[in-house]
């Protein structure tokens, strides 16, 4: 189809410390791509570079062949890339419904409208209801986000991320802190809501990664040491040494 997201020779330093040292990667449209790596490898930094939280020291980030490096997050979002956060980053005192509604407003074209009452906007209502149904939180519609259970909050986090209909969805450790059952549910949800979209996911849980990903990139000390299908990554000696540990059998 085409390349949805391309990283070209990305470098990022903080003062004298280089965190990302020359990352190049191409992710095809509709692909599910996982990025794994030991702690401190720079996975979050990479996410920040792509989503606009940080600007690269050098190199390019291209979304659908358009350069987005150095743009503020909202510009990148408007071009079709949305991300979630490792530490749940929602609107704590708003209800589930209101949280999701905030995520839909821009993409439905309402922007900074101060002349239309929200209650009369049917497209907003319908889309928010649909979103709520997809993430399975319709029963908790009016509950304040801060008092949801952890798994519910993570689901809401995903809901807010996909609310605007972005074509490239980036999820930062979506199953962090979940038990096996919750993880399975989360994976099913992720698979469902990213149908037909490009997914980039950072994860530590290897079951999730091997279950979900079409291709995996391994990031170690700011460099990608391997990008391949899950099966071949499992066999890769360099990867096993750096990350999986020699003991992991197939």
């Amino acid at each position: 189809m085409g390349v949805a997201l391309a990283l070209v020779d990305l470098y990022k330093s903080f003062a004298l410390t280089q965190i990302i040292r020359g990352v190049s990667l191409e992710i095809a449209a509709g692909e599910r791509h996982a990025i794994i790596g030991p702690n401190g490898a720079g996975k979050s930094t990479l996410f920040h570079l792509i989503s606009g939280r940080l600007a690269p020291t050098s190199g390019e980030v291209r979304l659908n062949c358009e350069r987005i490096d150095g743009l503020p997050p909202y510009e990148i979002y408007r071009r079709g890339l949305s991300r979630s956060f490792q530490i749940t980053n929602i609107f704590p005192r708003m209800s589930v419904y209101e949280n999701l509604r905030c995520a839909t407003l821009w993409s439905l074209g309402h922007k900074y409208a101060f002349w239309t009452p929200l209650d009369r906007l049917r497209d907003v209502r319908e889309r928010t209801d649909w979103l709520m149904e997809r993430i399975g939180l319709t029963a908790r519609r009016d509950v304040q986000a801060a008092v949801l259970t952890y798994a519910e909050q993570r689901a809401l986090e995903i809901g807010v991320t996909i609310g605007g209909g972005a074509s490239v969805v980036m999820l930062d450790e979506p199953t962090a802190g979940m038990n096996a059952g919750e993880s399975q549910q989360a994976v099913a949800l992720i698979r469902q809501v990213t149908e037909g979209k490009t997914l980039v996911i950072v994860e530590h849980d290897m079951d999730v990664v091997f279950n979900l990903a079409d291709r995996i990139s391994v990031l170690v000390y700011g460099r990608i040491i391997a990008t391949d299908t899950p099966a071949r990554i499992r066999e890769n000696d360099e990867v096993r040494e750096a990350y999986l540990g020699q003991a992991s059998g197939a």
């Binding site: 704590p92 708003m94 407003l105 900074y112 009452p117 807010v160």
Partner: protein, 425 residues
């Protein structure tokens, strides 16, 4: 039909209240006080657009109020001199336009940052404008200020607005429309995103919105309405003084909104009414009224951060479910203790105030709660001290009863809401 009636009835009630108030309180001073209340309601609501709704704490909001008023008053004088047929009813809009203009200008600088830096910029800008008032004498009129005569403007359907009751109705109509407009704003996509910025300014950027743009628009609107309030004040008092855009006025609007309750739309309305009332009546009764305001403010910050509206809403669920009566015994016990501490504190402060004035030779006789008292003698001091200490001590002892009663009420409310909730799938 019933849903639109349910939506309309608070507005009808409000309109009737505004219309009927002068029939109940007919004296000139009451009308003046109610007019000032109307102006302050608009001012406080405009302030809360920033703080309560967008999370921006401004220490210089009076700038837009004052500049709106000054532009309005100069406009009035210009219209009178040029004999242009502009009626006084439109003047507040002139104030609003001025507020909006300055809001745009200063907003470009102020809204680049949020949080603490925003507050400090607002303080700096406030001082900038306030200090400039001594330099730009022809605009600000120096110490005497600028005066005008509203009756010299073109009449509006025969009204020249010379009497206070006509001014009251002018203020009331503008106040009603401003309340409605500001409320309507909260129900728009923009209004909701302001709340989102308050909740999590970072996340907002990741759902497509520029937090800075939202802050800027909110700032401009709030300056617009503050300017309207300033324009109404200019019409009402026919004088504008540089004090009205200074730090003290900015502090007063903060006080009003906070005490009213920044978490609810109607909070600042409540705060504006209560504080205006206190400001006007207390200054006649005691010299230490500003100290009381400061202590009141600190008291609310420490013990009632939700303000008056917050406190009322706390009881709403209980009231709706008819559980309120359970709180009555505990409240009944703690109320006299609180009253005693309050009375004792007031006594001590008043006595101290009089005693210190004595040290500057102003005499020690005074009136306290209607009694003649000599501040130099031990008696009143002892009474005040005993009242205060016993009051505070008793409150501290009885308070667990209040929390206990609330515990019971909350358990019952939660049980009831769980019974209503649909069983989970």
């Amino acid at each position: 039909m019933t849903s639109s009636l349910r939506f309309l009835w608070p507005w009808l009630a409000l309109a009737m209240l505004f219309a009927g108030a002068p029939q109940i309180h007919t004296s000139g001073s009451a009308l003046t006080m109610m007019s000032v209340m109307g102006e302050m309601i608009i001012f406080a609501l405009s302030f809360n657009m920033l703080l309560g709704q967008t999370g921006l704490l401004s220490f210089g909001h009076a700038v837009y109020f004052g500049l709106g008023g000054f532009v309005a008053i100069h406009a009035m004088n210009a219209f009178i001199r040029a004999k242009v047929g502009v009626p006084v009813v439109v003047i507040p809009l002139v104030g609003g336009a001025a507020g909006l203009g300055f809001g745009f200008l200063f907003g470009l600088i102020s809204t680049k940052r949020a949080g603490l830096v925003f507050s400090m910029i607002s303080l700096g800008l406030g001082e900038l404008v306030s200090s400039s008032s001594f330099i730009l004498r022809s605009f600000f009129g120096g110490e005497e200020g600028i005066t005008t005569n509203r009756t010299k403007l073109a009449p509006f359907f025969g009204h020249k607005f010379g009497s206070q009751i006509e001014v009251y109705y002018l203020v009331a109509v503008w106040c009603f429309f401003c309340i409605a407009a500001m409320y309507a704003l909260t129900r728009t996509p923009f209004g909701r995103m302001c709340n989102a910025v308050r909740e999590n300014g970072e996340r907002v950027e990741y759902v497509g919105y520029s937090a800075q743009t939202i802050r800027f628009i909110a700032f401009s609107f709030s300056a617009f309405f503050a300017g309207i309030a300033g324009g109404l004040t200019a019409v009402n008092f026919e004088i504008m003084n540089a004090q009205q855009l200074g730090a003290q006025q900015s502090g007063v609007v903060l006080l009003m909104s906070y005490i009213g309750g920044i978490g609810y739309f109607a909070g600042p309305i409540l705060g504006a009414i209560v504080i205006t009332f206190l400001q006007i009546t207390l200054s006649d009764v005691t010299n230490a009224w500003q100290l009381y305001f400061g202590l009141l403010f600190i008291g609310f910050v420490l013990f009632a951060p939700g303000g008056l509206a917050g406190w009322l809403m706390l009881h709403r669920d209980a009231a709706l479910n008819r559980e309120l009566w359970r709180l009555a015994p505990a409240y009944g016990m703690v109320a006299p203790a609180l009253a005693a501490s309050f009375a004792g504190a007031v006594m001590l402060i008043e006595l101290a105030e009089r005693q210190l004035a004595l040290a500057r030779s102003e005499g020690s006789a005074m009136r306290l709660f209607g009694f003649e008292v000599d501040a130099a003698s031990m008696g009143p001091w002892l009474i005040g001290l005993v009242l205060f200490c016993s009051g505070v001590g008793l409150t501290w002892l009885i308070w667990p009863k209040v929390t206990g009663a609330w515990g019971v009420v909350n358990v019952r409310l939660r049980a009831r809401s769980q019974a209503w909730a649909s069983p989970s799938r």
